[in-house]
């Protein structure tokens, strides 16, 4: 499901025009991004938490050339699903 399909399905549920949904979605994304840049954790009840984690710098060695490279630290967004969502996902049958 891509962005368009998501907006379409939301518009149907909200009984609102797609344009309004699109604007609201953009605002939401912008707000979330802003908060995450400020290194704040966002918790959506029944869905999960978005948080920023710092990955420390590390030394990597190229397996074949043995060149050692210092990888700088970085900040990444991490999502952890809530238990409610996890329970819901149990309903999906697993094949293979």
């Amino acid at each position: 499901m891509n962005n368009k399909e998501l907006i379409a399905s939301m518009a149907v549920k909200m009984n609102a025009p797609k344009s309004l949904v699109a604007v609201l979605l953009e605002t939401t994304v912008a707000t979330c991004t802003e908060l995450l840049v400020d290194e704040k954790t966002i918790g959506f009840q029944s869905f999960g938490n978005f948080e920023v984690r710092k990955k420390d710098e590390r030394l990597s060695v190229h397996p074949s050339t043995q060149i050692r490279t210092l990888i700088p630290p970085k900040l990444v967004v991490n999502f952890k699903q809530s238990n409610i969502l996890k329970e819901k996902l149990k309903d999906i049958p697993h094949h293979d």
Binding site: M1, N2, N3, E5, L6, S9, M10, K13, M14, V23, L24, L25, E26, T27, T28, V29, A30, T31, C32, T33, L35, L36, V37, E39, K40, T41, I42, G43, F44, Q45, S46, F47, G48, N49, E51, V52, K54, L59, I67, R68, T69, L70, I71, P72, P73, K74, L75, V76, V77, N78, F79, Q81, L85, K86, K88, L89, K90, D91, I92, H94
Partner: protein
């Protein structure tokens, strides 16, 4: 780092104020959004939100574990997990504080490694012709000892001595791995053995022939000894002429059967070629200027002796001598012409002129007071859109910055106005040029 947690309610408030909609509408929107995403995920799809990221499901396999208290084995059921892959836009914005950092190859280790590689390559280059030479020499030695066994001729002994002494002489002039040193000691032993046999043969020699050349040949082992002990590089000219004089000593050879005489001639010719060949190879492969100088002098004398020899011997071995002098002339000119063509082919265009001209900074678009923890790369990214162009900011502020890696807080930094062609982040040549300057400034 204490992280402040923002609840759903706070998000709703923020969205409501930003999008200027009622809180109820915002709340409904958020609920619907989450519901839609869940729905998509439950349908087994991936859900993508523009500029934010992608949600998808990941199956975690069931696994066995152990109850810590009782030690019983328990089985954990497999489950689906929602993974979120942030969009590159979000990822970059979040990583802003560390965006100026780049992976660094650790230079010290790197240099050592490359040096090692160079050393290996060099020694291989030197070793390779030497190894071939040694193999050939040992082959010849075997054949010569056969001849010697048949004829008990001192000539073959002496020429063999020359081969071995030449190898020693050359090997000791270069820095060789240990296995070659073993070879040298082995050769020294052989040398002494040959001297012993030669002393026995000396009696025969005096009886059979009493020419001056034979006396010269008797003195030869002493020369060899000196070479081995004192590691003096005896000019090969000396050896060549001596060997040459041996070849001239035909009256002595008349004692042996005609067939063997021819064989001895052939072998001494091959030895000569090998000596000359090894000499030229050394001249080409050694980077040591002193040695090459010395050898170039020797080589001239060698060439003279070769031409003399060719004149005298060409009647018997017309086809064999031709390849000898050729390899000397081929290799060197190749290198120089290649270098010339590279320097000539440098293309010159407008961008290159822009790169090559000294940059003058007169217009400035901004003035920045340097904050602690700030970097030139961060300023560069903000003003030019790419961190690599920090070098131009540094160039414009050179007189105020002593070390670009360590700028005192409060320093006023002028941000120069640059030609848009120079800071075109989409042009790899601009980036390349900036990196080049980077390497110059960061030592």
């Amino acid at each position: 780092m204490i992280k402040e947690k923002i609840s759903s309610q706070e998000i709703i408030d923020l969205i409501a104020s930003k999008a200027s909609v009622s809180k109820r509408a915002a709340e409904e929107f958020l609920k619907v959004m989450i519901a839609s995403v869940e729905e998509g995920l439950l349908a087994g799809e991936t859900v993508k939100i523009k500029n934010f990221g992608t949600f998808k499901l990941q199956w975690n396999e069931p696994r066995k574990s152990v109850n810590v208290q009782t030690g019983d084995e328990i089985k954990l059921a497999g489950y689906y997990k929602v993974v979120f892959i942030p969009d590159s836009a979000l990822r970059e914005q979040v990583n802003e504080p560390f965006a100026h950092l780049e992976p660094v190859e650790l230079d010290v280790e790197n240099n050592v490694l490359t040096k090692k590689n160079e050393f290996v390559e060099e020694s291989e280059l030197v070793q390779d012709p030497l190894r071939i030479f040694n193999e050939q020499a040992s082959e010849i030695k075997n054949l010569l000892s056969e001849i010697q066994a048949l004829s008990a001729s001192p000539v073959s002994v002496i020429s063999e001595e020359k081969v071995s002494s030449e190898t020693i002489h050359e090997e000791e002039n270069t820095t060789e791995p240990t296995n070659d040193k073993e070879k040298i000691s082995g050769l020294i032993q052989q040398n002494q053995e040959f001297e012993d046999t030669l002393e026995q043969d000396d009696v025969k020699l005096i009886v059979e022939n009493k020419t001056d050349q034979q006396i010269g040949m008797q003195e030869l082992p002493e020369n060899d000894k000196e070479k081995v002990d004192e590691i003096i590089s005896v000019p090969s000219h000396n050896e060549e002429t001596q060997l040459f004089s041996e070849l001239e000593a035909t009256p002595y050879l008349e004692n042996i059967k005609p067939v063997k005489k021819r064989r001895i001639w052939l072998w001494s010719m091959i030895i000569l070629f090998l000596l000359v060949g090894s000499g030229t190879l050394y001249y080409l492969y050694t980077s040591d200027s002193e040695f090459s100088k010395k050898y170039s002098i020797n080589k001239i004398s060698e060439n003279i002796s070769i031409s003399e020899m060719i004149n005298s011997v060409s009647k018997w071995f017309a086809p064999a001598e031709k390849p000898v002098s050729k390899p000397v002339t081929i290799v060197i000119p190749k290198d120089t012409t290649a270098l010339d063509s590279i320097s000539e082919n440098q293309s010159v265009d407008s961008l290159q002129i822009l790169f090559d001209n000294p940059r003058v900074y007169t217009d400035f678009i901004a003035l920045e007071r340097f904050k602690p923890g700030n970097r030139l790369t961060i300023l560069s990214k903000r003003y030019y859109g790419n961190k690599d162009f920090w070098v131009y900011i540094y160039e414009a502020n050179k007189e105020r910055i002593s070390d670009p890696d360590n700028i005192a807080a409060g320093t006023l930094i002028r941000i120069p106005k640059l030609d848009s062609k120079l800071i075109d982040a989409s042009n790899p040549r601009c980036i390349e040029k900036a990196k080049e300057l980077h390497d110059i400034y960061i030592k």
